[in-house]
């Protein structure tokens, strides 16, 4: 066009036509996104069902193996050579780890599906913490770690699912602290106040980077370097802990000054 030719002003209908074209383009993109979202939801559902099915099947086989090795190790088939006994015990321990891993994956899958039911019965939270600490002393001692326990006097009556809170929250947090602390002390504190029960586990372990902190309680969200320390980590432990705590009306969070500075996990329940 000649630079001197005056441009004709656009009419309202020209603008309307342009606007419609733009609307149509945006609509087509939105439609594409909506369809992709639907497809993704179907694929996610299928994947979730497959994961659930596989985990369930493997759990069945592992449980049978567990019973078999336990029977051999405990002498159900009579006296066996010491070497076989040692092998059976080691195999039993491995199978139990496998069962625990599969159970974690299944539990996470069930929590996502919303098929997990929670009991709401009163129990003594302090007594549960004491029991787990007593059980975890062996693992801490084996690593040369100290468990420093501080429990304030108070009422620790909590209404919730005792078994899930014991296994997925208390045991998981203490177990993690022991696992991720090479040397030093794990501090466990329990107190109550303001109508709340506060439970915390502090370690002097590998710490949590800000990047890992963002994914800490997500499904499969283990830290970038945590897998180097705990090669068997499924990344489901803290995800399940968070689901259990929140289903019980509580809160769970972590604090860390970064890699190499240890971490503190805090759980708060309404008493």
């Amino acid at each position: 066009m000649d630079a001197n030719t005056p441009q004709q002003a656009k009419s309202t209908s020209d603008y309307e036509a342009e606007l419609k074209k733009a609307n149509e383009i945006v609509y087509k993109h939105s439609l594409e996104l909506a369809r992709l979202k639907q497809e993704l939801e179907v694929v996610n559902k299928q994947q979730e069902n497959l994961l659930h099915f596989i985990s369930h099947e493997i759990k069945g086989y592992l449980t049978k193996s567990e019973a078999g090795f336990a029977a051999i190790a405990e002498g159900d088939y009579g006296s066996i050579p010491e070497q076989l006994k040692t092998m059976s015990k080691a195999a039993l321990a491995d199978v139990r780890k496998g069962v625990a891993t599969v159970m974690d994956i299944l539990q996470a899958s069930n929590l996502k599906k919303g098929t997990v039911s929670f009991k709401k019965l009163a129990f003594d939270f302090r007594s549960v913490v004491q029991t787990i600490i007593a059980e975890q002393q062996v693992a801490a001692h084996a690593k040369g770690l100290q468990l420093d326990v501080k429990m304030a006097d108070g009422k620790y009556r909590l209404e919730g699912d005792e078994e899930k809170i014991r296994e997925h929250v208390i045991r998981n947090l203490i177990d993690n602290a022991i696992r991720y602390t090479p040397t030093g002390t794990v501090h466990i504190e329990l107190s109550d106040g303001d109508g709340k029960i506060h439970f915390s586990v502090k370690d002097s372990g590998v710490g949590i980077t800000p990047e890992d902190m963002a994914n800490l309680f997500t499904e499969g969200g283990h830290g970038k370097d945590s897998i180097k320390i705990n090669v068997h980590s499924t990344g489901y432990g803290l995800f399940i802990a968070k689901q259990v705590v929140e289903a019980s009306g509580g809160k769970i969070w972590a604090e860390s000054k970064g890699a190499g500075h240890g971490a503190r996990f805090i759980v708060e329940f309404l008493a």
């Binding site: 609307n23 149509e24 609509y27 939105s30 979202k37």
Partner: protein, 94 residues
């Protein structure tokens, strides 16, 4: 009005997946269509139900073009499949 209420509801819900709440605000501008603000429940008021559905389809088509009409057809396909051709609104005929 049975199938036409369902057709209107399906169309608006399908459009909602693409354009969000705008689907409901545009549907509210269509005469002959009553939308319950609380539950987004859709009912056709009196008049020719086929014409009301055509106006609804046209309301989206006017703004978003031909692709939106195809979305309306797909949304209603499950219902129109059970209707005689004469009863299907023109905008939804394939």
């Amino acid at each position: 009005m049975g199938p036409f209420n369902n057709i209107a509801q399906s169309i608006i819900k399908e459009q909602e997946l693409v354009i969000g709440p705008l689907a409901w605000s545009e549907a509210r501008k269509v005469s002959g269509l009553h939308i319950d603000v609380q539950g987004n429940d859709v009912t056709l008021e009196g008049g020719d139900p086929k014409a009301t559905i055509d106006r609804l389809v046209s309301q989206y088509e006017r703004l978003f073009g031909r692709a939106s009409q195809e979305v309306c057809k797909e949304a209603a396909a499950g219902i129109t499949a059970t209707m005689s051709r004469a009863d299907i609104p023109a905008s939804l005929l394939t």
